[in-house]
């Protein structure tokens, strides 16, 4: 017991005198470690008489707790002290940059592409693929673009041969998928990909990207088109977004609509993006034309459907405020590095 009191005195003064964390760690080891002095005393308690044992055990454990606390407290104090020599040697300039390569950047177009796809996947639309070089039949004829329609002009489309064309829209996928699925219902799909038109200026690239959506089922009407696009717009542009439809014309839909959303940049107040109108046109849509349903193998008397087509490049431009569509395909590092 005397030894215990002696040990306590010595340990207390040494802990108080310890100058740096290393010394403290050493003290901890010396007294409380596996072969520490106090540990050894605790272990030797078995040698005492049964009468002495409880009191000695109690005191030893109390001292152990006390020293643990003291060392902990002393360690806290030391952190507030100026750093030791060894610490100074090991000190890092934590402000130096990290040395692993930064991750590469996803192309702005691809980011938007994936996000749009994700939203429609989440709404129960299947993602499908389609070819970019198409037959005249699938790109035009089956989409109710009759011969001598202005959209078929050589000046608008890139031709490979008389019957093969670089698709001018993603809509051929509608026909191909309907034919694959008919007569199963519902047909519910989106497809994004490249399309080509003979246009080249600040707002037109001869190659650009569209996302196509198609839903064919019994009893589908304009209200469903509006509902689905409203849901999309809220997820893509923000929960406050409003959608409006204006009558328009596409050969493959009837009725047809242009779809506008409230400008996400000025929240409808009017700005440069929306040209002061508070609305931004995002896509063309409509109810699938009866002739197109027929070409797809469905009976327009039995089923109806809606379709929409949205320019992805424009969405990328709007999101990242890229004013010239051609910049998307120049792949200028000075642009990619900013977005």
């Amino acid at each position: 017991m005397k030894r215990l009191a002696e040990l306590g005195r010595k340990a207390r003064s040494e802990v108080a005198a310890a100058g740096d964390p290393d010394a403290l760690r050493e003290l901890e080891l010396r007294y409380l470690g596996r072969r520490g002095e106090l540990t050894l005393i605790l272990r030797s308690l078995g040698d005492l008489s049964p009468e002495e044992r409880p009191a000695a055990g109690q005191q030893s454990n109390q001292l152990r707790r006390e020293l643990t606390e003291l060392i902990g407290a002393r360690a806290q104090e030391m952190r507030a002290l100026p750093e030791s020599k060894s610490e100074a040697t090991d000190r890092l300039d934590v402000t130096l940059p990290g040395t692993l390569p930064s991750p590469g950047r996803a192309h702005p177009l691809m980011r938007v592409w994936q996000e749009v796809e994700d939203i429609f996947l989440g709404m129960g639309f299947d993602v499908v693929e389609g070819n970019e070089i198409e037959t005249d039949y699938f790109n035009f004829e089956a989409l109710n673009v009759p011969r001598d329609h202005p959209a078929r002009d050589m000046q608008d489309s890139f031709y490979v041969s008389r019957d093969i064309v670089l698709r001018t829209q993603t809509s051929p996928v509608q026909i191909r998928m309907m034919r694959q699925m008919a007569p199963k219902l519902p047909v519910r799909l989106v497809h994004a990909g490249r399309v080509f038109r003979r246009d080249d200026d600040i707002t037109h690239s001869p190659m650009f990207h569209q996302v196509e959506g198609l839903l064919v089922d019994r009893g589908i009407g304009l209200q469903h088109l509006k509902g689905v696009l409203l849901e999309f717009a809220r997820r893509f542009y923000g929960a406050e977004t409003q959608v409006r439809m204006r009558p328009s014309y596409f050969p493959f839909t009837e009725p047809s609509a242009e779809v506008d959303v409230t400008c996400a940049w000025c929240r409808g107040k009017g700005c440069r993006v929306c040209k002061g109108t508070g609305w931004v046109e995002i896509l063309g849509a409509g109810m699938v034309h009866p002739n197109v349903l027929r070409h797809g193998g469905y009976d327009p008397e039995q089923v109806t459907g809606f379709a929409f087509g949205m320019g992805l490049d424009r969405q990328a431009q709007l999101r990242f405020e890229i004013d010239n569509v051609r910049l998307l395909f120049v792949n200028d590092w000075r642009l990619l590095g900013q977005v």
């Binding site: 970019e132 070089i133 490979v160 009407g221 469903h224 009725p255 200028d332």
Partner: protein, 835 residues
């Protein structure tokens, strides 16, 4: 289509208040009529008022000038100097007083002419932005007698007019390429009454509804005797109407008409031509005036042109026609290109005495083809292409006759020739009311459908089914007038009803149904996953064009039979850069590197995963395959290496190889193998082909200095291209867990000195085979060349891990295996260097 608002007011009332007008235009847009712009063609005009000329004298010194005292009413009297000589005392003229401005904003100040100060200016037609190109343009405008001095001329002459620029969709273009057509839409939206122009009434004298039963004498009367009309190509012209006019006076048309033509985007020419254009803008029916006395045989023959038949059109260009073109001919020759442009040989001239006026309906496709082929688009051809009411020909003649008479330009010889080759009859469309409600997505009752269609001028009725007018089996019956050739079936009727009802009133709803099963296609999912891996290595994603110039093949110095050259040519590229559909991603990626190097960006690490286009044969008969490729380019400093530690080493072969191995690993491709290879544009000895399970995957290598220079790049440039389709095909979905090791491993390092030409992969294979099942891991950790191993040799040092699934390996067991390895290596020429 340009729509003058002041002119539009002739046919339909518009709100006078600005805000209300704006609201109406907004509703018009919501009905589908897109307004591109609202212009004020005469904006800037200010301070122009009517002045009574009191006295005119010659300028005392400048004999070409006149000096006039002019009474501006409340603004007092001014002295004005003018060079025009067409006014005299008593005339009322527009005057811009000093401080005012002309249309366009040019301010007029006092100007001194040799001692006489002109306190403003009398305005000519041209100065007021009217009558350009006419003989009247330099004359001072004489206002109607009785105009009070001081009257504001800006509103009097309509210089405050606003013009809507409409962007018509093809269906609207069928019936809205006329003031009347637009007015009908405005009336439908606003609910105001439509006032149709009646023949014989002009600008300021409109009456009530037109008498649609206009006199129609079929090839009879004086006109019929004087001029015979024959339609020899009824498939291209179903109706040809005409009338003969005498007492022709070719002069300037009245200012109000000129102003309206200008607002409509046309140039005033003379009274005859101006009236034909005016009627076209008003009713949408193109007209053409022939000098009747130049028509040989007094005949009009509507026929296909002969092969190589020539005609000088009104623009002075000689045109060659063919049997696909419809010509208007007289007894001997073509005198007009039907629906496109008249001929110079029968043009109206100052000496024209008699005029034959054509009002016809031509097949849209024919007009369009001819117009395209000739590269000649005119106001007439644009209208015929999109659709002109086949029933409107006679009405247009009647209207023109009325205007000719009103402005004193010509007098009609009674009778209208009207040759109908094929009568167009109004169509009846039947559509079930249920279908309308389903497609429109709105609960519209049958009676409401009828009234909505009525606002658009479409007569409809409901044929009730057994369950009443709004029950199942009810049918909506719509009489479609001939002017609405855009309406073909039930779905078109639904659009008419829906837009009259208002798209904005349709309540959004989500479709219901069974649980959809959705996924991304494997290719798409793999593309996204691979992109993520490559971006993780610090590579940026690129998106380049699907085509490139044919010159790229030469730039890469590809041999003539190189498979990349078997590329699909585009028949009608816009530029040389669109000549070929790409067969490899490499050329466009190199161009991107070159572009960026031009801006001093030289540390480039990038990839593209995209399609190439591979024809089965050329010329293309079947659709090509469009497989995905992944291409990677590295140049400059290695990713992340340019840092403060100073390890800014350049990219190298093994960095690129590591990226490829990492990508393959992420797709769980085992057995990836690299063999020395060659490519036309990569350095020998620094190129490898890549395969997996004996399937070729692609290649990687260092671009030759020549090829790099061709793209403006500084070596080294490393690039690779892999067949992503095969990678996806070989990609395992997952690997299975084989249990945690139960016994400890033994580590040994072995280094072998081997001949330089013994590939590391072979050494590895030998060791792996000799090591057997207990060799569980083998890692090359050092390659050394130098004096210690001798010339032509190198040392390869491996860390080997041995472990048995059944027992703790003893040193003896491992030594035995190592001895086997050393023995097999010796057979291959490898000497153990150290252990």
């Amino acid at each position: 289509m340009r729509v003058s608002l002041s002119w539009l007011r002739d046919y339909v009332d518009l709100p006078s208040e600005k805000a209300q007008l704006q609201a109406l235009l907004g509703r018009l847009e919501m009905a589908g009529l897109t307004i591109d712009a609202i212009e004020q063609p005469w904006a800037g005009a200010r301070g122009i008022s009517a002045g009574l000329v009191l006295r005119v004298q010659k300028h005392p010194e400048l004999d070409k000038l006149l000096v006039a005292d002019v009474d501006l009413g409340p603004a007092g009297k001014v002295t004005l100097v003018s060079g025009a000589g067409n006014f005299r005392a008593g005339d009322i003229v527009p005057v811009v007083a000093a401080g005012g401005a002309l249309p366009g904003g040019q301010t007029i100040g006092p100007v001194e002419f040799k001692g006489i100060v002109s306190q403003g200016m009398m305005c000519s037609a041209a100065e007021l932005g009217l009558g350009h190109g006419t003989e009247a343009e330099d004359r001072i405008v004489i206002l109607p007698a009785g105009t009070a001095p001081g009257t504001d001329c800006i509103s009097l002459l309509g210089l405050d007019d606003e013009v809507l620029e409409l962007d018509l969709t093809p269906n609207y273009a069928v019936f809205c390429q006329s003031m009347l057509g637009v007015a009908r839409e405005v009336a439908a939206v606003s609910g105001a009454a439509l006032r149709e122009p009646a023949p014989g009434t002009g600008d300021h004298a409109l009456t009530g509804p037109a008498s649609s039963s206009a006199a129609r004498d079929l090839a009879s009367g004086e006109a019929g005797q004087a001029a015979a009309v024959v339609i020899a190509a009824p498939e291209l012209c179903d109706r040809y109407s005409g009338a003969l006019f005498e007492d022709v006076v070719v002069g300037p048309s009245p200012l109000w008409m000129q102003r309206r033509l200008i607002a409509g985007g046309l140039r005033p020419l003379n009274s005859l031509v101006d009236v034909t254009n005016y009627v076209m803008l008003e009713l949408g029916q193109p007209l053409h005036a022939f000098d009747f006395d130049t028509l040989s045989g007094r005949r009009i023959v509507v026929r296909r042109a002969a092969h190589g038949e020539r005609l000088v059109s009104l623009d002075g260009t000689e045109r060659e026609l063919g049997p696909d073109d419809l010509a208007i001919a007289d007894a001997d020759r073509a005198v007009a290109i039907a629906g496109v442009m008249g001929g110079a040989n029968t043009e109206i001239s100052p000496t024209t005495r008699r005029v034959f006026l054509e009002s016809a309906h031509f097949a849209p496709i024919s007009v369009r083809r001819t117009s395209r082929r000739l590269g000649l688009r005119t106001e007439a051809s644009i209208r015929f292409e999109k659709g002109v009411d086949p029933s409107g020909t006679v009405r247009a003649i009647e209207r023109a006759a009325g205007l000719f008479s009103e402005i004193g330009a010509a007098r009609r010889v009674s009778g209208v020739i009207d040759v109908v080759a094929a009568a167009t009859t109004p169509m009846t469309v039947r559509v079930s009311t249920d279908y309308v409600r389903t497609l429109a997505g709105a609960p519209i009752a049958g009676a409401q459908m009828v009234s909505l269609l009525a606002t658009l001028g479409l007569d409809a009725s409901v044929e009730p089914g057994p369950a009443g007018p709004d029950g199942a089996g009810s049918t909506l019956r719509v009489e479609v007038p001939t002017r609405r050739s855009d309406i073909e079936g039930g779905a078109d009727i639904v659009e008419e009803i829906a837009r009259a009802y208002g798209y904005d009133r349709i309540e959004p709803a989500l479709p219901s149904g069974g649980m959809p099963l959705t996924a991304r296609p494997a290719r798409r999912a793999a593309t996204m996953a691979a992109g993520q891996v490559l971006r993780g290595y610090g590579l940026d994603e690129l998106v380049t064009f699907s085509y490139h110039s044919a010159a790229e093949f030469d730039r890469l110095m590809l041999p003539p039979d190189h498979p990349w050259r078997l590329s699909i040519p585009l028949a009608n590229p816009m530029t040389e850069d669109q000549a070929r559909m790409r067969t490899s991603l490499v050329p466009n990626l190199l161009r991107v590197l070159g572009y960026n190097a031009g801006y001093g960006v030289t540390d480039l690490h990038a990839f593209e995963i995209n399609r190439v286009y591979l024809p089965q044969s050329l010329p293309l008969t079947d659709l090509p395959s469009e497989p995905l490729r992944v291409a990677i380019v590295l140049t400059g400093t290695a990713p992340g290496a340019a840092n403060w530690r100073g390890g800014d080493g350049p990219v190298d072969f093994y960095l690129l190889k590591g990226v490829i191995e990492g990508l393959a690993e992420s797709m769980r491709l085992d057995n990836l193998s690299f063999e020395p290879g060659t490519a036309a544009f990569t350095r020998r000895g620094r190129t490898a082909t890549i395969s997996c399970d004996d399937r070729a995957l692609g290649w990687l290598g260092e671009l030759t200095a020549d090829a790099a220079a061709g793209y403006g790049l500084r070596p080294p440039v490393y690039l690779a291209e892999l067949d992503f389709e095969t990678m996806i095909e070989l990609s395992g979905p997952y690997r299975v867990f084989r249990g945690l090791p139960r016994f400890p491993a033994v580590q040994r390092d072995l280094a072998f000195v081997v001949p330089d030409d013994l590939p590391a992969a072979r050494v590895t294979r030998i060791i792996a085979e000799a090591g057997g099942e207990t060799l569980t891991d083998l890692r090359l950790f050092d390659v050394y060349r130098g004096a210690q191993v001798g010339a032509g040799k190198r040392s390869l040092a491996f860390a080997l891990t041995f472990r048995s699934p059944e027992q703790t390996l003893t040193d003896e067991q491992v030594d035995l295996t190592c001895a086997q390895i050393v023995g097999r290596m010796a057979d291959a020429g490898g000497v153990l260097r150290a252990q």
